[in-house]
Symmetry: C2
Subunit: 397 residues, 2 copies
């Protein structure tokens, strides 16, 4: 049987391809420190479960395709609190940020279109864009420049007549980079000047450790017709399994077309939407505690990493990821070695995400990896101490 | 801004476009008997809510992309009970039947491909297929022949070199038609002879009122490499708001490619999957009671309809829909009249789904409508008595 040419061009998740090695290590009884995944260990707020428990309906019916009005209201209030005035018709509830992204791309892309994305970037973007018939044009960055990309010349160099949008994750995954106020203006000028969409994945918004400012591009009114925001309760409230996200856009031509797709896929899970209302109603105090926890973890991670000879990194300002350059030949090979050969006696090792999968440009990222700090401080310290030992041993062979 | 050429070709849900008229009628205080929607009124089994209430985890994490193993097991056992042996790798849990369908189409379709679908059909198929870059070639049927389509000559006539699959809903929406054993063989022969996929939407499987047989194409082993089943807990367990469905396929080349898409969209809501396990564990007794309820409703509906002069229909064997030909000029115009002008004093009216939206061929279905019997017997009787009165009055004007 023949399959779609598009699906043949897609890859499996590069983060998950080391799973067999992980399973082997686990079967041998190894404890693994997981710096490789973005599943937070922070407790999901109790109010989420309480709301679901309190549901007293007898028929679990479809929710409206756009989302339940209470959740749309709650999202509107949340955005108002961070300085963004939205109307209910600017907000659609989606099956996680992933569906929001897929929908946004489906509404704007034709075969042969291009999307600019600063690399390194979240690898699932590859699948969504390939399936929409378009392709990614990477905006190159470098570890030495701290992965900064919002520089007019860099953006202009990646532009072609086929460019339809630029997609950014801010705060960044995998870099942890947060755009400066000047850089935001550069991006805004660029999309307005070239009549592009700016697709802003802002799911890590609250994880901002320096300024304390909660920024959304939605606060920049001149972007109104150009901006599509991807948002989600997943990371914000440590509720990744709820699969509740949001697509936000003030361009009503866009939203009218989006509605066709929302109607076709019917609705998002009803109970999860109700419970998400209660998450948004918790107020900003919740974030303060969570943010403080992640800030401490980041600091511990950077402190431990800075002790290892030959390791380099820029201290990240946000999200819960960072890119690190390791003094090894190849971070994919090194990861396999960590799982298959390192410390078999001590039965402790670690995992990270090798960076090659975050780059579109072949050959890039071979010495880099992404570390996620969604494990506790003690585990971070122990894991990075193991990393130091492993690098030494690996390079001695 | 320019939008996707594909999205411009999609329509809004034809079932929902009468919503403004409905709202006006409701604002005037009219009571509407809803024969227009497929939202069952049967209670969702209590065990669904109990399971969610009993969840004791603290972090609501991502589920595996293929689905949680307990639910895959439960689906496997359910299929074994109806005579279909599946392996866990043949089953993927999806965000409702809608996502299963979208995923199936994404894996197999290229731009310019064609899918054969007997018309009338579920209108959302239009959006999914258009967005995949393909087009629908309808297999025509007629009310006089009871909408039967599985006739070799009819199928051959719709086949072209671009045909990739035939898609059927069995039991049928909107027709309520159930394929006979001979017709199933005709379809199986056809897809094998022409090396096509058979996409079988079997979400109404349990709603079978004549033979009592619970049929799945998965029981036909010679179809193994050709068959993709779309399934869902939505209608089966009156849990449409759970958004839990299943894609079932024994073709491992297909499943390997599907996994790329499952990984990219991460997972289906974790609690809804756990609760769906408990639905499948209820056993076949649950269906007997539900089936009996729907059978009675169907009988009452047919009894009342047969009293109206000029109305014609074939008694449906399954699902909870039926197609009815009305003695009016145009069922869309008549519906607007029912909502805007009929019985303003009595403040009672009814809604159905006009059939034009279920046809691909322009001009078809103008005298037909779809009635859903997801309201209770008394409401069905009252609603159809109103219909009789309305037809008379409408034609007198």
């Amino acid at each position: 049987m023949k399959f779609s040419g598009k699906i043949e061009k897609c890859d499996y998740s590069p983060i998950r391809k080391f799973h067999p090695y992980q399973q082997d290590a686990e079967h041998r009884g190894s404890h693994i420190y997981h710096f490789n995944i973005g599943q937070p260990d922070i407790k999901t707020p109790k109010v989420f479960f309480d709301t679901i428990r309190d549901f007293s309906g007898e028929v679990l019916g479809y929710a409206p395709s756009q989302g339940i009005p209470q959740l749309i209201d709650a999202v509107q209030i949340y955005y108002a609190r961070i300085g963004c005035r939205l109307m209910p018709q600017d907000i659609a509830i989606t099956q996680g940020g992933s569906e929001a992204l897929q929908l946004a791309l489906s509404v704007i892309l034709d075969d042969g279109d291009e999307i600019m994305i600063p690399e390194p970037f979240y690898p699932n973007y590859n699948t969504f864009i390939t399936m929409a018939g378009a392709s990614i044009v990477p905006v190159p960055t470098s570890p030495e420049e701290g992965y900064r990309y919002a520089v007019r010349e860099k953006l202009e160099a990646a532009l072609t007549p086929s460019t339809r949008a630029i997609m950014v994750t801010n705060p960044g995954n995998p870099t942890g980079l947060i755009l400066s106020p000047e850089e935001r203006q550069v991006l805004a000028d660029f999309v307005i000047d070239h009549d592009l969409f700016l697709i802003a994945d802002e799911v890590y918004r609250e994880f901002s450790y320096e300024s304390g400012e909660l920024f959304s591009f939605a606060s920049m009114h001149r972007l109104a017709e150009h901006l599509i925001i991807i948002d989600s309760v997943s990371k914000r409230f440590s509720a990744t399994g709820a699969r509740v996200g949001e697509l936000i856009c003030r361009n009503q031509q866009f939203m009218a077309r989006l509605m066709k797709l929302l109607q076709a896929r019917l609705s998002v899970a009803t109970l999860e939407q109700l419970a998400s209302v209660s998450l948004y109603e918790m107020g900003p105090g919740y974030f303060d505690a969570t943010r403080e926890e992640y800030r401490r973890r980041r600091d511990v991670l950077c402190e431990e990493l800075s002790k290892i000879p030959g390791v380099s990194f820029s201290k990240p300002s946000g999200a819960f990821y960072m890119m690190v350059t390791l003094p090894v030949d190849d971070t994919e090979k090194f990861l396999v070695w960590l799982l298959a050969s390192f410390n078999k006696k001590g039965r402790e090792t670690l995992m990270y995400a090798p960076a090659a999968g975050f780059y579109k440009t072949p050959g890039m990222g071979r010495q880099e990896c992404r570390l996620a700090y969604v494990i506790n401080e003690e585990e971070i310290r122990r894991g990075i101490q193991l990393l130091a030992k492993a690098i030494e041993e690996y390079n001695r062979q």
